[in-house]
């Protein structure tokens, strides 16, 4: 089965809107799936993992397990998710697209072999699109 879908797991859709519109214009409306929470992302992943070319994962998401507003725990939700994805679906490329500064999550991201793009960077948009184009055209 060919890999034709980019999975976005991000709490804030407005932050990835430009990427979504790019994918729709270039590859069609079925080339991406947007999940607002970890659970929805995992649910989709479980059902369609064979079609997923790449995952764009936000590390800053509300933690539905801990139900807390603490920023440090808020941040860890994405890291938990990265570990789960790596263990369950080791062959799917993951790009952590987040506002969390790299040093904080660097060790973890390296350990679980993901790429990292800082959302606050001017070139982040193009960098992420390059990865999408590369994985979708494989």
């Amino acid at each position: 089965m060919s890999k034709t879908v980019i999975l976005f797991i991000d709490e804030q859709q407005t932050e990835i809107e430009a990427h979504i519109d790019y994918l729709t214009a270039t590859y069609g409306g079925r080339s991406f799936y947007y999940a607002q929470t970890s659970s929805k992302g995992l649910e989709y992943l479980g059902k369609h993992y064979q079609q997923i070319a790449c995952i764009s994962l936000d590390l800053l998401m509300p933690n539905f397990l801990l139900r807390t507003e603490d920023r440090e725990r808020y941040a860890l939700e994405g890291l938990y998710l990265l570990k789960v994805i790596r263990e369950e679906y080791p062959s799917i490329p993951v790009v952590c697209y987040s506002f969390i500064k790299e040093e904080f999550a660097n060790e973890f991201i390296k350990k679980y072999k993901a790429e990292y793009i800082y959302k606050g960077d001017r070139n982040s948009y193009r960098d992420l699109l390059k990865i999408f184009d590369k994985t979708l055209s494989k």
């Binding site: 709490e11 804030q12 859709q13 407005t14 932050e15 990835i16 809107e17 430009a18 990427h19 519109d21 790019y22 214009a25 970890s38 659970s39 995992l42 649910e43 992943l45 479980g46 993992y49 800053l60 397990l65 920023r71 440090e72 808020y74 941040a75 860890l76 890291l79 938990y80 998710l81 570990k83 789960v84 263990e87 369950e88 679906y89 080791p90 506002f99 969390i100 500064k101 040093e103 904080f104 999550a105 973890f108 959302k119 606050g120 960077d121 001017r122 982040s124 948009y125 193009r126």
Partner: protein, 331 residues
């Protein structure tokens, strides 16, 4: 009493451990995506539940039978307990296999049908095992009880019975809690919950927790979090016609804040799109077009070709969205 405890240990400890060993071998052989391992883990819980449930029924039935010889009860207890534990696990695996073959059509009913089918199977097994050894005597069901009803429940006071009833109740409550209270949780999410807890322990041992907390506090710009929350609020307000104006105010605040913190343009695009969406609902075409004009204006003096192309694309997409918008004439 000692023997009874031994067989209960066999059911509640050794059977699940055996199952876990199978999981280990399956996961480490050729189950690359861990699909079988998922199911086996779930089946571990199911088999515990079945064992506990059948045990309750068994003891209840034995205590209800006034003519049984104590020795026979002990023997049949052993056989029934062992058989139920072993066959329960085998049945679970067989049923899981078939539910996979049945595919997606029955997937949403899988959890419920599996439980019901397994309970029926376990009950049938225990009845066959017990009454086979007792000579197929069902006549007590038709007789009027010889002792008051509450006497039949005295078996609950025995310590070993009490312990496994507690375990069974716990498993039962957990099962129904997950199935109904959190009915939206899928098997994948349940696995995620388990793994998540494991990761939390690995990631945050006592000595590391403090480091992570202090680093994380400085790792995120609080204004980014603030922009996020303003946009989330705007999205909720946007759902209601009466609060559209408030939604617009929130988006404006988010946009202003984003500019102040040098938010990358692609993220600003999302905010613009949301604003246009709200203005569209408010039937304000001119204001919506002004938002697109802002990007055009930015592009006027742009020398970077890549940047120019990117903005042109955004303008095109936003205009396309605006075309779909049905403005209602004011007045």
């Amino acid at each position: 009493m000692c023997e009874s405890i031994f067989y209960q240990v066999l059911e509640y400890v050794i059977a699940p451990i055996g199952l876990m060993m199978i999981i280990f071998f399956v996961k480490n052989s050729d189950d690359k995506n861990g699909v079988f391992a998922h199911d086996f883990r779930d089946d571990g819980i199911e088999s515990l539940f079945i064992a506990a449930y059948s045990h309750i029924l068994f003891y209840f039935s034995v205590s209800a039978h006034p003519h049984e010889d104590h020795r026979d009860i002990e023997d049949s207890t052993k056989t029934a307990s062992l058989l139920v534990a072993v066959l329960g696990v085998i049945t679970t695996i067989i049923l899981k296999h078939y539910s996979k073959v049945w595919g997606d059509k029955t997937k949403k009913y899988k959890a419920i049908t599996n439980n019901v089918a397994l309970l029926l199977m376990a009950n049938l097994l225990f009845i066959i095992c017990y009454y086979n050894s007792a000579g197929w005597d069902f006549s007590f069901l038709l007789k009027k009880p010889q002792v008051p009803f509450w006497h039949r429940l005295s078996f609950l006071l025995k310590p070993n019975n009490f312990i496994f009833i507690m375990i069974a109740s716990f498993v039962l409550v957990m099962r129904f809690y997950l199935q109904w209270h959190k009915h939206k949780l899928t098997n994948d999410v349940k696995t995620f919950l388990r793994l998540n807890r494991k990761t939390a322990i690995e990631l945050l041992p006592e000595n590391k927790m403090k480091d992570y907390t202090s680093i994380a506090r400085n790792a995120i710009n609080p204004l980014f979090v603030r922009i996020d929350s303003l946009l989330a609020k705007a999205k909720i307000l946007e759902q209601n016609k009466e609060t559209l104006h408030s939604a617009l105010i929130e988006v404006e605040r988010a946009k202003e804040m984003a500019r102040n913190v040098n938010y990358p343009e692609n993220l600003l695009y999302g905010i613009r799109k949301l604003k246009i969406q709200i203005l569209c609902k408010m039937s304000e075409p001119e204001a919506a077009r002004l938002e697109i004009a802002e990007i055009m204006f930015q592009n006027l003096g742009e020398t970077n070709i890549e940047m120019k192309e990117m903005r042109e694309n955004w303008i095109k997409w936003l205009e396309k969205g605006l075309e779909k918008c049905e403005f209602v004439e004011n007045g």
